[in-house]
Symmetry: C2
Subunit: 237 residues, 2 copies
């Protein structure tokens, strides 16, 4: 029974980790994709009458935002990889050349988690027998770094970029079908706030936040951003 | 000597961790703040002749983007906190009520890092003596969760939002002083690409990426986003 429960937990944790990178990307891309083009279009509706300019500005924003966020995701993935590789080289060097110091650091890890002097010594002695395993241990538990997936950066860029475009089309599409900007804004606000609510609900379910509360928070952010953009644009008009 | 080096490393690591949250926020806010308003204004320059509309659109975008990103940072900080609190409760419950299973999981941790059966047993027995310490250990090393700073969410929102505004003013300001959009675009491109290069250089220095290469990558993202927005806006005009 214990083993059964135990295995379930582990399976659960691993599934959670595998899908969480993808979902995190979609959440990052879609929440900004829904919010920023929505708020930009709302802001422009306060300042210009024709929905034509809003469509052009919105499309320019979606192109800019999806590329900036997508490539930003790529870059941060690459940076994470470079960082991991550099730190791994350093740990290998230290294990080879600064063995005494690494032994002290390993002992300190075991001291910090609350083991006795005796078990600290034994555990360190056992870990230090296999240098590769020792380096993995130091990477993960001294530095808190997980080995990044080498395809992560590219996948991340695509996931974020596409989610941004998908999100951005929703608030913008009403302006395609209306002459007047304020009419477009009405339909855009209805469509976007509903989508933000659903999106916030699903996202909260996944991350273990109370779904209704989470959905309201996400919707409120979108509404606040749009109202601020509307007000500021009217002010500078 | 060993101890000295060792202490230095630890101090270094901790300073790195303390400032890294702030710097991460600034990097997140400023890179998007420099890139997206720059690209949006560039896109509009391809489609509208007057720089007046670009200024209004740019200001609406900066308002929208800073709020969306700032509040987004706030929300993700809060979510992280809720998640930590929930998981901590669960671990406390498990340590109280599913002791055998937690003992197995703790042993498994020590088995995975390569300790012998004997040391696994001893280490687990010692850790399980103090329930609070045991829970902290499981939180950090089984689940890989660090206790979040409760003020983090608010600080993060402000850091990201303000960095976005500061970043966004740079590409937009030339349009304030030019009548013609294309003139504005020229000065905006020069000012923004220089700032992106400096920003990319400093960011790369901090994260341990080759600075020149990192600076070029960041600049290229900005230029690509602007070119795409320009092209797409012209297409839809």
């Amino acid at each position: 029974m214990d083993t059964h429960l135990h295995h379930n937990t582990h399976q659960h944790t691993e599934e959670h980790l595998e899908s969480s990178d993808f979902l995190r990307d979609v959440v990052i891309g879609m929440s900004d994709g829904l919010t920023v083009p929505f708020a930009l279009a709302a802001g422009l509706s306060g300042a210009v009458a024709s929905s034509n300019i809003i469509v052009i500005a919105g499309i320019a924003e979606i192109a800019a935002g999806s590329i900036a966020m997508g490539l930003g995701g790529y870059l941060s993935g690459k940076t994470e990889q470079d960082h991991y590789t550099n730190e791994e080289k350093r740990e290998h060097f230290e294990v080879e050349n600064l063995r005494e110091r690494e032994i002290e650091e390993t002992k300190e890890f075991f001291a910090n988690i609350g083991l006795s002097k005796e078990v600290q010594e034994q555990a360190t002695e056992e870990i230090a027998r296999d240098k590769d395993r020792w380096v993995s241990f130091m990477m993960k538990y001294e530095l808190g770094l997980d080995k990044p997936d080498p395809k992560r950066a590219t996948k991340s860029a695509l996931n974020i970029g596409i989610s941004y475009i998908v999100g951005g089309i929703i608030p913008l599409s009403p302006y395609f079908f209306t002459e007047n900007a304020i009419d477009g804004l009405k339909y855009s606000a209805i469509a976007t706030l509903i989508c933000l609510f659903i999106f916030g609900y699903v996202k909260s379910k996944m991350t273990g936040v109370k779904p209704l509360w989470g959905a309201l928070r996400v919707t409120l952010i979108g509404a606040t951003a749009a109202a601020a953009a509307f007000g500021v644009a009217k002010l500078f008009d």
